[in-house]
């Protein structure tokens, strides 16, 4: 009897979830119709799963809830030579109004590239955002245009730090807005401050007594990370200095991951699935490790002792490359895991619309829903696991890098030991969890 109750609850939950998610996708499809991506402001009927998915995992300048309802977010834009523009995202009316030459294109702020000066000031009505593709340096690129007063103007995306390798690069402006991702990070931070503040108050209240309430709930996490990550990876001598950093990075990543799994506001932002976020975190980890690197660490990195002099420059090249590859692997691992999970879930939900032939075939949509519910539920469970596992891996690998940097000099069997170290590092370069090794030897 209990099992049947459980089953029906499970079905209820999964159906409700799929309903909400499906609604979001559906509303997006409807919203996409408003600003047609055709060069003329025409209709756009086909359901485009790739476009929808990529739009959903991308960062946005407004928090889209349902239909035309969005939570406005602060917009802070800087164009060199033009100065700052600070506004709320609601002023852009989902792309129907240009403010100081900035236009909202599918949730992101873009800037008119070659517009006359008159259009770069005040509010202008935008007829539509048009989309086309063009060949640039042998690569097909998306071009977006804003139609204002019958004229079309090319739109610039915000500057990104990919050096132009991934189709981005420095453009005419920088976007320092509180975007959906930034908002979610602030939310996660506030939640963490509230949670751990309450835990710390528990320690003050129960001084000399057994822990109680939220304190006893969270203490195992603290102790687990201490006993499983910081002490084995950094060593008993130095671990206390780095425990706060490892705790912060673990819980920040974990909370961002978990908020990303919530399908509606205040979740749904793909924070840790954005390479800017993982890059920043990985670089911070690397900086923390390398800044604390001792003479032993730098000696082994720059001029490896115990190997023939002829090999030393080669080792230096490998080791210096390793300094970059370590944080790079951290960055890519978290980004790829989270983004992949989001793409899979959104793909499964898209099945409903593909099977339903974009709303024309109700039976197909029903069949798609059945398949989608089952697989989405499964994927959500996996994602929940991944949220914890990836936070753990990020923390443990950060601790490993710190541990290698602060490891004390040892004098036994130099050659043999470093052979092992190289193998372990090779594993980490491969981006696998097997890259972990205990520096406490």
């Amino acid at each position: 009897m209990t099992s049947s109750v459980r089953l029906s609850l499970l079905l209820l939950f999964s159906t409700a979830f799929t309903f909400v998610s499906a609604q979001a996708v559906d509303d997006h499809g409807a919203a996409a119709d408003h600003h047609s991506p055709e060069i003329e402001c025409g209709g756009h009927d086909d359901y485009d799963p790739a476009g929808v998915i990529l739009h959903h995992i991308a960062d946005a300048n407004e928090f889209h809830i349902i239909g035309d309802i969005s939570i406005p977010l602060p917009v802070i834009l800087y164009a060199p030579g033009e100065g700052l523009t600070v506004d709320l995202s609601s002023s852009f009316h989902h792309g129907q109004t240009a403010v100081d030459g900035y236009v909202m294109n599918h949730g992101r702020i873009n800037r008119l590239a070659d517009a006359p000066a008159a259009l770069m000031e005040g509010h202008q009505e935008v007829e539509c955002i048009a989309h086309t593709t063009a060949e640039v340096d042998g690569k097909t690129r998306d071009m977006y245009y804003a139609l204002i007063g019958g004229e079309r103007y090319l739109l610039d995306a915000p500057s990104v730090g990919d050096g132009g390798l991934l189709g981005g690069g420095i453009t005419s402006f920088y976007d320092f807005s509180i975007t959906k991702n930034v908002f979610t990070m602030i939310l996660a931070s506030l939640a963490l401050i509230w949670l751990w503040g309450a835990v710390a108050r528990g320690y003050k209240k129960n001084e000399g007594k057994a822990p109680s309430g939220i304190q006893s709930l969270m203490e195992p996490f603290f102790v687990f990370l201490r006993d499983e990550i910081t002490i084995p990876m950094i060593g008993t001598k130095h671990y206390e200095r780095f425990q706060p950093f490892i705790m912060t990075i673990f819980f920040f990543v974990l909370f961002c991951n978990l908020l990303g799994l919530v399908p509606i506001f205040p979740g749904s932002a793909n924070v840790t699935g954005n390479i800017a976020v993982t890059m920043a975190l990985a670089v911070i980890s690397a900086v923390v490790a390398y800044v604390h690197g001792n003479a032993h660490f730098w000696g082994h990195t720059l001029w490896m002792p115990g190997v023939p002099t002829a090999v030393k420059p080669l080792m230096t090249v490998v080791e210096v490359l390793g300094l970059v590859i370590k944080p790079f692997s951290l960055m890519v691992r978290l980004f790829a895991n989270i983004t992949a999970g989001h793409i899979i879930i959104l793909s499964l939900i898209s099945l409903i619309f593909i099977f339903g032939n974009n709303g024309e075939n109700v039976y197909g949509a029903g069949a798609g829903a059945v398949v989608s519910v089952a697989f989405t539920l499964f994927m959500n469970c996996i994602e929940l696991l991944v949220a914890f596992v990836q936070a753990f891996i990020f923390a443990i690998l950060s601790a490993t890098y710190i541990g290698a940097a602060v490891e004390d000099a040892h004098h036994h069997d130099e050659l043999g030991h470093h052979g092992e170290e190289k193998i372990a590092e090779g594993g980490a370069m491969g981006g696998a969890v097997t890259g972990m090794h205990t520096p406490a030897n």
Partner: protein, 170 residues
């Protein structure tokens, strides 16, 4: 669609603004949590660990002490028991000794009393003998005087007279 994919894959383009905010938020969070939570929790946990260790040490010490105490008690008990046995034995011995002594003393006293009595009797007898002898002597002298003083003329008178004397003697 495939052309859209690579180009529109925005999440792989590191947005400079997002990097800026991530670094800022993370560092501020690290500073706040470090001050608000991690350090106090670390301190509290360390203090608790030390306290637990101290309690365990204390308990172990107390147990060892208790064991030692119990040993001591056991030893004292055994000693006391031995002492008791010893005391009882001693008392017993003493009692016997005292009884024997008392008996001896009594016997000696009795003997002494008896010998004294005997000696007294002896003495008294001797004295009596002396007295008797003296008396007899004096009587004999008296008799002799009377004999001498009277005329012992006839044998009959003489005989009667002696008988009278003897009767008087008695």
């Amino acid at each position: 669609m495939s052309t859209l994919f690579l180009v529109d894959f925005n999440v792989i383009k590191p947005d400079i603004g997002l990097i800026f905010w991530t670094v800022l938020i993370f560092l501020v969070l690290y500073a706040i949590l470090g001050k608000l939570a991690w350090k106090p929790i670390q301190r509290a946990l360390r203090r608790r660990d030390e306290e637990i260790q101290r309690s365990i040490d204390e308990a172990q010490r107390a147990r060892a002490e208790m064991l030692a105490q119990a040993d001591e008690n056991q030893r004292l008990l055994i000693e006391a028991r031995e002492e008791r046995t010893r005391i009882i034995t001693d008392a017993e011995k003493q009692r016997k000794e005292m009884i024997a002594e008392a008996k001896n003393e009594a016997r000696e006293a009795a003997q002494k009393v008896a010998s004294d009595a005997r000696r007294d009797i002896d003495n008294m007898r001797k004295a009596a003998m002396v007295d008797l002898k003296k008396e007899v002597g004096s009587m004999a002298i008296e008799i002799a005087e009377r004999i001498l003083q009277k005329d012992l003329k006839s044998d009959a008178n003489q005989e009667a007279f002696v008988r009278e004397l003897v009767r008087d003697l008695n």
